[in-house]
């Protein structure tokens, strides 16, 4: 059985807005990160030559190492974006929900 407060929360528009917004952000970030990791794994097994080739013709810096560092950088950037979104969108929504519950 749900309590009265929980029933109110389930009927709150902002609650659903918060949940779906956060869900979309989390899953799409995860999709991008894990997808690029999987792409790296697949390339390293099925097409090692692609990763071994240098980034610039005639150079020695292989694409695989560049791709690895790029994924690390992407992970860091998405982390910052997530924290920014959380501070500027998720938290104000949470506060709004709490205020509406008190009414």
């Amino acid at each position: 059985m749900l309590s009265q407060t929980n029933k109110k929360i389930l009927g709150n528009k902002n609650f659903h807005k918060l949940v779906s917004l956060r869900r979309r952000v989390s899953w799409s970030f995860l999709f991008v990160l894990l997808g690029s990791y999987l792409a790296f794994s697949l390339l390293s097994i099925y097409s090692p030559a692609t990763l071994a080739r240098p980034v610039f013709n005639g150079g020695v810096f292989p694409r695989g190492i560049a791709m690895g560092y790029a994924i690390l950088a992407l992970c860091f950037i998405l982390t910052l974006v997530y924290v920014w979104l959380a501070n500027n969108y998720f938290e104000p929504l949470e506060k709004k929900i709490m205020a509406e519950l008190k009414q």
């Binding site: 929360i9 989390s26 099925y46 090692p48 292989p62 190492i65 690895g68 690390l72 924290v83």
Partner: protein, 549 residues
């Protein structure tokens, strides 16, 4: 103050290590290099400073505010450092460096995975865990499921994760002491084991957060110095580092391409899954989210941790290649029987000597040793607590145990774990410590993570499903590790592994999810209906935290 006494006992033990080392060297039983007194003195100086600061800081915190309950004293930055400290263990610093050293680009899979696991925690787990507001992750799983059976399962899961993870640290510590003090490896492992048991029994959990924080700062600084030092010797030309490494390495140009270590998709996907989902299944890491006051701080601390860990992982790649260039063909670091003194796990340690001389070698060894001490004590304690608190007190005695027996059981567990890991660590001499740690992560990903994930995200999970999934994942993971190359070949000495892959992650996760699904949807009992019905309340709390009625 007993804290001071513990510090001195510990230091006396460390000193006796040095004294014990002298005859080993005189007999010529050691690994062949001369005892490096400058490095050893620096080792003691830094270990002493670290321990004294740790105990001083932890005793201060305790008197000022109640460390775990109040929690406000632990802000995002410090908790982030402590989390990073937990993760930057011997396995990462020594093990991943060793992997880069021996396989080159293939180790990138470890470097990326070690960071991405934290993104999964940030995006899926951290805030929810904090919002559900319990003390351990098994409390979260048991939020709407049956407490007793779920607790039993997660206690067994914690043990199965803790033991290989402990072994990784132990093998690293053994090699470290072996190469620093020129002791035979077996002797070094026993000494380290005794020291650790002492630390756990007397130091306790009190000091670990502080030692992790302080150590994280020292390790980040030390890693930066090694990385910058290597680059400075090559005039900050990354291409020169790559060229030089490929020239010196026995595998040549192959280290700048994938395929030295990973040649099949099952292994590389299992490695990826173990990192990505196993990190979120490590019980001692998840505990850290309950030391901060709210979900906001939990989020901040993971964000900081990702920054620190990602930075450190990027350094490790440079350190590993630097070790190829400056350590692998340096006669100073060759053991008489071939290979590096102390094995490949010591490549980062040897490189520190090239970069900063004997005092810096002592510093890095001390930091690595402090790391191992802190990680091991946290792990051993969480394993002992799983037996004495979860299994004995809550399940067997139904919450009515007497404290004395509970304490005794936890001591006995500590002792048994200490002795068995010592024995296993001796048998696993020279095994890459990152490989051992990854087996622990694979078990965590196969047992703990799916059940925790489903309990938070899937309304139809029932107790029966959670148990079936958890035990199926555990059995699959353990049997496949047993029949796999690390145990079947290295430990038991058979010629060929029955299960060809080193990591069981893919199969264990599939087994876990399949069983959890089948046994949940087929569960039509009254209890199952009630559990499904109470999902909404748990879901609401996981999204926005506890709401006052």
């Amino acid at each position: 103050m007993s804290i001071w006494r513990i510090t001195w006992v510990l230091l006396a033990l460390l000193y006796s290590t040095a004294v014990a080392a002298a005859p080993a060297m005189a007999d010529g039983n050691g690994s062949g290099n001369e005892l490096n007194m400058t490095a050893i003195s620096m080792f003691f100086v830094f270990i002493s400073i670290t321990l004294v600061i740790t105990f001083w800081a932890s005793s201060r915190t305790r008197t000022r505010s109640d460390f775990y309950a109040a929690g406000n004293s632990i802000g995002g930055v410090q908790n982030g450092l402590a989390i990073a400290g937990d993760f930057m263990s011997a396995a990462t610093f020594l093990g991943v460096t060793a992997l880069v050293y021996s396989t080159g680009m293939d180790a990138m899979l470890f470097v990326i995975g070690g960071t991405l696991g934290w993104a999964v925690i940030l995006l899926l787990v951290a805030e929810r865990l904090r919002n559900l507001g319990q003390y351990t992750f098994s409390d979260v799983v048991a939020f709407r499921l049956q407490r007793k059976p779920v607790r039993t399962m997660s206690a067994i899961g914690s043990l199965a994760v803790a033991i290989p993870y402990l072994l990784a640290q132990m093998v690293g510590a053994g090699a470290l002491i072996q190469s620093l003090f020129s002791l035979p490896y077996e002797y070094a492992v026993v000494l380290v084991g005794v020291l650790m048991t002492f630390y756990v029994t007397f130091g306790g959990m009190l000091a670990t957060t502080w030692i992790q924080t302080i150590k994280a700062v020292l390790l980040l600084a030390g890693g930066t110095i090694i990385g910058v030092g290597v680059m400075a010797m090559l005039n900050f030309d990354f291409s020169a580092l790559l060229t030089a490494a490929a020239e010196v390495h026995p595998k040549g140009e192959a280290i700048l391409a994938p395929g030295v270590m990973f040649t099949d998709i099952i292994t590389s996907v299992s490695v990826g899954l173990a990192f990505v989902f196993g990190t979120a299944g490590l019980p001692h890491v998840l505990m850290r989210f309950f030391t901060v006051p709210d979900a906001r701080q939990a989020r901040r601390s993971v964000a900081y941790a990702i920054g620190f860990i990602g930075y450190f992982q990027s350094l490790i790649f440079i350190i590993g290649l630097g070790a190829v260039v400056y350590v692998s063909n340096n006669p100073e670091f060759q053991a008489p029987g071939g290979g590096l003194i102390g094995g490949v796990n010591m490549s980062a340690i040897h490189l520190s000597k090239v970069v900063g001389g004997d005092w810096f070698l002592g510093f890095i060894s001390a930091v690595a040793f402090a790391t191992i001490l802190a990680v091991v004590s946290g792990l051993t304690l969480s394993a002992a607590a799983a037996v004495s608190h979860d299994l004995y007190a809550n399940v067997i005695c139904d919450g009515n145990s007497d404290r004395k027996t509970e304490l005794r059981i936890s001591r006995i567990t500590t002792l048994i774990i200490g002795l068995s890991t010592m024995a296993l660590a001796i048998l696993l001499e020279g095994e890459n410590v990152a490989v051992l740690a990854l087996i622990a992560l694979a078990i965590a990903a196969g047992v703990n993570f799916p059940v925790m994930f489903l309990s938070m995200y899937w309304s139809k999970l029932t107790t029966r499903g959670a148990l079936a999934g958890g035990y199926a994942g555990l059995a699959t993971a353990l049997i496949l590790v047993l029949l796999g190359p690390t145990v079947w070949v290295t430990l038991l000495g058979f010629d060929k592994p029955i299960f060809p892959y080193a990591y069981p992650t893919l199969f264990a996760m599939l087994a876990n999810l399949t069983f959890a699904y089948l046994f949940s949807v087929s569960d039509k009992s009254q209890r199952a209906l009630a559990e499904i019905e109470s999902f909404d309340a748990q879901w609401i709390q996981s999204e926005i935290g506890p709401v006052q009625e």
